[in-house]
Amino acid sequence: MKSRVTITLITRVFLLVLFGLASDLRADEAQARQILVEAILSSGKEQTALVESLSSTAAPIVPDYLEFWKRGKIYLYQTDPDVDPIPVLEHEAETEGEASTYSRIVDGEIIVDEAGNPLVLDPEKMEMARPGRKTRRVFTMTVDLLALSTPDVSDRADAALKLGLKQDKDILPKLRELSSKETEPLVIEALEEGIAVSMLAHGSKEEQMESIQVLKDRNSIAGLDALKNLRHDINDGYAPYPLTEEEKAELDESIASIESYISVTDFVGTCFRGLSLGAVLLIVALGLAITFGLMGVINMAHGEMIAIGAYAAYISQQIFYTVFSQSTFALETYFLFAIPFSFIVAALCGLVLERTVIQFLYKRPLESLLATWGVSLILQQGFRLVFGAANRQVRSPSWLLGNVEIFDITFGFNRIFVIGFAILIVVGTWLLMSRTPFGLSIRAVMQDPQMAAAMGIRINRVRMMTFAFGSGLAGLAGVFLSQIGSVGSNLGQSYIVDSFMVVVAGGVGNIVGTVISALGIGVTDQALQPLLGPVMGRICVLIAIILFLQWKPGGLFPSKSRNLD
């Protein structure tokens, strides 16, 4: 029986190679199927050995088939008492009452009759194939070891570490064997870490002490639990070897060292997430810092300016999709076009808003709040009428997705991007305000409009341009927000309170204050969230800001003035 199987295998491989069709994967799969058939047909030690040998086939189908076997989905189909039965896999029909179809395990093809319809097999001729008791035990280990031969490097490293953490006596030699053969440095590291964890439980005393040292040197977060368990075992007197006080101290030191490493990475991670949230807040609030902070207009429609930017990003995506017919090129590049497009669209809307409504309200700031709120209602309903009530999805280019892991801290590309984007916008705004003639006239008009007018500055035009610039910045915020959520008519509403708080806490009329308060609020929010949950964290931040204003009523950098009232 075995010889025949081998012959078919040889012919198969030969044929594949001959016709140049042999991809590694298919050859692996064919080999695995052959071994599976043999294993199902054999019994006892031979079966166990065959299943164990599956772990070196690197075929992704193996775990599924082992699972089917365990759950009794595999049958032996006896066509003729003189011939060996054929192992088949049952596929239950989706609708109830219909007969199951079967596929041959040797090639995965459905068994059909002459007409090509799935053949209904005679239940009399079938017998469920059951794995032996000892074989069943090696299933999990086989699947685990199989993962060690996947071609993907990071998957393989994960599998190596996971196996080591099991602290299984039987796996340890296999890990050692693999580590001598492995070439990828990432996997070798993971294997060494896994071996060290495993040796904590099963190694000799020297190996144990060596492992403690290795885990400490590597700052192994994964190994921390194993170290702590060892420490408990020693305390409870279950340890395999008695340790001297010195050695115990070494163990404790190792644990403490890893724990402090974790708290450092946690801290850096929180800071990073806080910075990126702060950057989002900063982008959202910077436009307001200009329209509200510098110009004194309480622009409740600021949120809608953000939404306009987000919708502009959506429109530019749709245009690119239509023009470049949904190609990857369109998806990857529309975003670069969307940034200036949204800025211009939002700035134009701001220009119109300033000319039609706000220019009449510079002397009545509290009433600008009411009028702009009316505008915000009109715009929200306008979005709903034009784009529909449902949210619109804007897809992110692939270079914004992914992330990179450095020292066990995950840095998402979109978070890195938003921080860079915020820096760019702030620097740009700062240069505009402090290094250009336009910036000079903006500052002059904001400080004393009458004097500026007397000096020949056209204050109406400067105000108009300033408001348009602030609105354009809101539009840029919209482009970014479209990347972290969907675009809807209420998009701006969820940020309006936050952005006002950022500007007020930073000190009205001061861009440096806005930057610091946005980052401060972002980091505080991220630091509180793991302790209190997202909603309570947010509430605490709001209350903290109210209390902060107690201490510094004018914000971080209050504007200095000799005016009363």
Binding site: L370, V504, V535, I546
Partner: protein
């Protein structure tokens, strides 16, 4: 004919409003014949009860914004707090008539509570609930106002931090774990003081109580504007520093007015809940508080009847346009606000005066033209 003064005219206005809402409307509802033009149906009475609550809310904000210059974007919070305080009592009075047939309110059964949380227990008594309606908004306003006014936060900043406070409270009440029913709030009330809550007679009584309360508020404000306190109040609005330099503690004045306005809002909240039959955190949304400001602005700030007219008019318009133009009502409302702010700075009440002065200006201009023509 002797010319009647501004203050006397307001008083006449208040008396007319009182006669309409306190006497005429409940009477027409109770005794009017259904075929008559003047008949007020139960539905209409209930709707007007809601409008009167909004009017009361606008009056309380006017006391702050119109007369003292404190733009509070958190008046909806105090309104909702009052509503919640009475709502807790009404929830407990449902007793075992709820969907789960339990002594506990339905949402608590749903969330797996075994017994009533300690802060709910005293609300079983109506007296305590009424006490809480006054106390809770008062205390919240007292603490917040003390902090804000002591730090001399004013103008735009005051508006923004009151909005932040409202937003924080809104987030808090939306949470299920806050024991106030999460986003569903309280509803399905059955009885108030032993009588069925949706019985026409109960509803008429509630309407009358609301109307009487509103009239009392109007008389109170009319009286207040004539006292020294009212004058200082307006002086603070116009130039706070001058008042402070004259030796008045503006902080104390502002705090007192803030607390009184919060309590007034809390009381209308408590009157609103049994008439509408539901209270949930939606009422605390910052946008709701902004709407109140708009009512006052539309009606005419710093006038006695302005807020009442504004609240009733805007809410009537809202009901009308949500029914007839559901897609456009937000646009109509938004455009109205922009129009009022730009072209009617004194609101509806100030409109006759505004028209009169523009007519005068027009006649002046017309005559000048004529003279120029004849000279030529």
């Amino acid at each position: 004919m002797t010319k009647i003064s501004e203050s006397q005219r307001s008083l006449i206005g208040i008396i007319i409003v009182t006669l309409i809402v306190v006497v005429a409307m409940p009477m027409l509802n109770a005794f009017g014949s259904e075929s008559s033009f003047f008949f007020v149906s139960d539905y209409q009475l209930n709707l007007w009860g809601k409008y009167l609550c909004y009017a009361g809310l606008a009056v309380s904000l006017n006391l702050l914004w119109g007369y003292t210059g404190l733009l509070c974007l958190g008046q909806g919070l105090f309104f909702a707090l009052g509503g919640y305080a009475l709502g807790m009592h009404l929830m407990l009075k449902i007793g075992e008539q709820g969907a789960y047939k339990s002594e506990l309110p339905d949402f608590m059964v749903f969330l797996g509570y075994k017994e009533l949380p300690a802060h709910w227990v005293p609300f079983d008594s109506f007296g305590f609930a009424v006490f809480a309606v006054l106390l809770v908004p008062g205390i919240v306003a007292g603490i917040f106002g003390f902090l804000a006014f002591r730090a001399r936060i004013k103008g735009v900043y005051f508006a923004i931090i009151t909005q932040a406070l409202t937003y924080a409270a809104c987030l808090m009440f939306f949470q299920n774990s806050f024991t106030f029913g999460g986003n569903n709030g309280f509803t399905d009330f059955k009885t108030i003081l032993g009588s069925k809550i949706f019985d026409p007679v109960t509803q008429r009584t509630l309407f009358t109580v609301t109307a009487v309360y509103l009239s009392l508020c109007l008389f109170f404000i009319w009286w207040l504007t004539r006292t020294k306190f009212g004058k200082i109040q307006r002086a603070i609005r116009d130039s706070e520093n001058r008042v402070r330099f004259s030796g008045y503690s503006t902080t104390t004045y502002k705090l007192a007015i803030f607390v009184v306005a919060a309590i007034m809002a809390g009381i209308v909240g408590a009157l609103y809940v049994p008439q509408v039959g539901i209270i949930n955190p939606e009422e605390m949304r910052p946008s709701k508080s902004l709407e109140i400001v708009v009512w006052v602005a539309v009606g005419g700030r710093a006038t006695i009847l302005g807020p009442v007219i504004g609240a009733v008019f805007v809410n009537w318009l809202k009901s009308y346009s949500t029914y007839h133009y559901p897609d456009y009502w937000l646009i109509i409302l938004g455009a109205l606000f922009v129009f009022v702010v730009l072209f009617m700075p004194n609101g509806i009440v100030g409109l006759p005066q505004q028209l009169k002065s523009s007519y005068k200006r027009y006649r002046h201009w017309f005559q000048k033209n004529k003279e120029a023509e004849s000279a030529a």
